[in-house]
């Protein structure tokens, strides 16, 4: 570190059956790698006694003292009796302090075989997944009970918190959802037009856009954006509160974190997501309309007439019926992961990632289940 210090050195010789070690110069951290090699090469060489003469030592820091102490311990283990003298008073205090502490072995992890680690990892992962599923179901149960409790005791409802959450999760998401939905509408129309033109069925582009947007694209897009935008913020908010012990503070004040933190968020999203889905449907249909008018030489009224022939109320309701379920999934996973945060900033980051991945996964799985279910009912 300090460039102008004189680098330390060491001299050792055997004098009348006594090993004499004379450290010279500054024994500081910067010189330690070299000195360590020198010291390691010092052997008892049959001597029963060793003498460390510290009178020519320049400056020494705790790394240097540690090196002396380590060498002494090594020699003593080999049966050599070690004496020290000649240190300046300040240095003596330091060397004594380090020697008193001894040389604690650094913590190291036992050797592991990578195959064993792999199997262990798979097993631990499986058990973790099972536990996670069970905990999530537990939490779902708690949320349902919480809802019923709020019905029975309406004073538990927190209207201001609820409305603030609706604003954050719903109103503030409108620009991004509107823009993305509009563009997806345009993309669908262009792609559909290109393929359908080959069969001379360009007009069915409208049907393609209408049905796919209302049944799948609108709700799925909205759910994905909301999971990334809102689910993650739920986890980060609640997680940070958990780190600051705010959640514990709520409990000690006799407030249930479920009532104060979880239910307003879940309720807000269950209200906001269907509204956002409707808005997304409209934006995507507008996008599709704009593309159709440009591509197909249609007028706007023609597009609307074709659209009204192509889609029915049923398609719209199929899409909308998924919205509250997805909202419940996203909000619950977000809050659940937030409450699982323990102690550290790293844990907040990790669980926020996990929350988004999990809620996206659940949204897609449930969407697939819905598809199977609706095709069963011939809807």
């Amino acid at each position: 570190m300090d460039q102008q210090v004189e680098t330390g050195s060491v001299e050792s010789r055997i004098e009348g059956g006594v090993l004499v070690v004379i450290p010279r110069g500054d024994w500081r951290l910067g010189a330690i790698p070299v000195l360590d090699q020198r010291m390691a090469s010092i052997r008892g060489g049959g001597a029963r006694q060793a003498h460390f003469d510290l009178s020519q030592l320049g400056e020494i820091d705790s790394a240097g003292a540690w090196l002396l102490s380590r060498t002494r311990e090594r020699l003593e283990k080999a049966g050599v009796k070690v004496t020290l003298d000649g240190a300046a008073p300040g240095q003596e205090a330091l060397i004594e302090k380090v020697m008193a502490v001894g040389c604690p072995p650094p913590a190291h992890h036992g050797p592991h075989h990578y195959l064993i680690e792999l199997v262990e990892g798979i097993g631990a992962g499986l058990f973790h997944a099972i536990k996670q599923t069970r905990d999530l179901l537990d939490f779902f149960g708690a949320v349902v009970i919480g809802f019923f409790r709020q019905f029975l005791q309406p004073r538990r409802i927190r209207p201001i918190s609820l409305i603030a959450q609706i604003e954050q999760t719903g109103l503030n998401a409108m620009p991004i959802i509107g823009l993305i939905s509009f563009l997806i509408g345009v993309v669908l129309a262009y792609q559909g037009y290109d393929q359908l033109r080959a069969f001379g069925g360009q007009i069915f582009t409208v049907n393609l856009v209408g049905i796919s947007v209302l049944r799948e694209m609108g709700i799925l897009l909205t759910a994905i954006i909301v999971a990334g935008r809102t689910g993650s913020s739920f986890t980060a908010q609640i997680g940070t509160m958990q780190v600051n012990e705010e959640v514990d503070a709520l409990r000690t004040l006799g407030l249930d974190p479920l009532d104060v933190l979880v239910l307003p968020r879940v309720t807000a999203l269950v209200i906001a997501l269907p509204l956002l889905t409707f808005y997304s449907d409209m934006a995507a249909l507008t996008g599709g309309g704009v593309a159709c008018v440009l591509l197909l030489d249609m007028s706007a009224p023609q597009y609307l007439t074709q659209l009204s022939h192509a889609v029915s109320m049923q398609h719209f309701l199929v899409g909308m019926s998924k919205a509250p379920i997805f909202a419940l999934l996203i909000a619950m996973v977000g809050c659940f992961e937030g409450l699982r945060v323990t102690g550290s900033a790293e844990s907040v980051g990790q669980l926020t990632t996990q929350s988004v991945v999990e809620s996206l996964f659940l949204v897609i799985v449930f969407d697939a289940l819905f598809s199977v279910f609706f095709s069963f009912l011939h809807i």
């Binding site: 300090d2 951290l29 705790s62 790394a63 205090a93 502490v101 040389c103 650094p106």
Partner: protein
């Protein structure tokens, strides 16, 4: 070695309209323990942060270890920073690293030594601050408040600094741990020959380990020994040292037999 370790001249610190320090002068001598006291919000921690370069002063001149902190190149800063250690109020351990890795981090950045040696030196530092060996592999969230401070101290001492900054080292510790921490700082200071700049509110630590006391009043600083400050007519200083807590701390100190 008679050069002061820290020299502050005419320091002015401002946050917007609010003036925290106005023409503050301070000198910290080599090898002393300086306790900095002052009312809440009087800018003790700000002073510490300004000296270590985390805040930029509006005016004034700061010299640490014989180098002016203004206008240093990045490399010079790094070199200077390796010569001091800072213990933050709550330890400020990196929560994603174990205690041993926290202590190893400065060694890794500033010293060119092997990984094995780093581990051994880190274990030494952790043992020196009085933490049990099994705490090496623990994460900060698994430690108590007092252990976090000790681990923070081990990290601050990792590079054997010449100068140690402590921000309220004993705040939030029980009296027994606080006394043990004072003892630890004292013994490390003596054996390592450190200069210590300590922000504290703990009157017991002030009387027990500080050579001189710096009082931050009226946006300036007054440095003197405990005895002289007791006779200072400034109302805040009077209230501080002659309040019930100040009297109690001094009383204990006086009735204790000299070691």
């Amino acid at each position: 070695m008679n050069e002061p370790v820290i020299k502050v001249r005419g320091l002015v610190t401002r946050f917007g309209e609010q003036v925290v320090h106005d023409g503050l002068d301070l000198e910290v001598r080599h090898g002393e323990v300086l306790g900095v006291v002052g009312g809440s919000g009087s800018g003790k921690s700000v002073l510490l942060r300004t000296i270590v370069g985390l805040n930029h002063p509006a005016a004034g001149h700061i010299e640490v270890l014989g180098k002016s902190t203004q206008g240093l190149s990045d490399a010079q800063w790094r070199e200077l920073e390796a010569r001091w250690g800072v213990l933050f109020q709550s330890g400020a351990l990196f929560s994603s690293l174990t205690v041993a890795d926290n202590v190893k981090l400065p060694l890794k950045e500033h010293a060119h030594i092997s990984a094995h040696m780093r581990a051994e030196l880190a274990a030494l530092k952790i043992a020196m601050v009085g933490l049990p060996p099994d705490s090496c592999s623990k994460f900060p969230s698994q430690l108590s408040g007092g252990m976090k401070k000790r681990a923070g101290l081990a990290r601050a001492l990792a590079l054997d600094p010449e100068l140690l900054f402590l921000d309220e080292p004993t705040a939030g510790l029980d009296p027994i741990s606080a006394a043990a921490f004072d003892e630890l700082i004292r013994s490390l200071q003596q054996s390592l020959g450190l200069t210590v700049f300590m922000v504290t509110h703990d009157l017991d630590s002030l009387t027990a380990i500080c050579d001189r006391i710096a009082v931050l009043v009226d946006k300036k600083i007054k440095v003197d020994t405990m005895e002289n400050l007791l006779g200072d007519p400034h109302p805040w200083i009077q209230a501080y040292f002659h309040g019930p807590r100040g009297r109690a701390a001094r009383h204990v100190e006086a009735s204790e037999p000299a070691p």
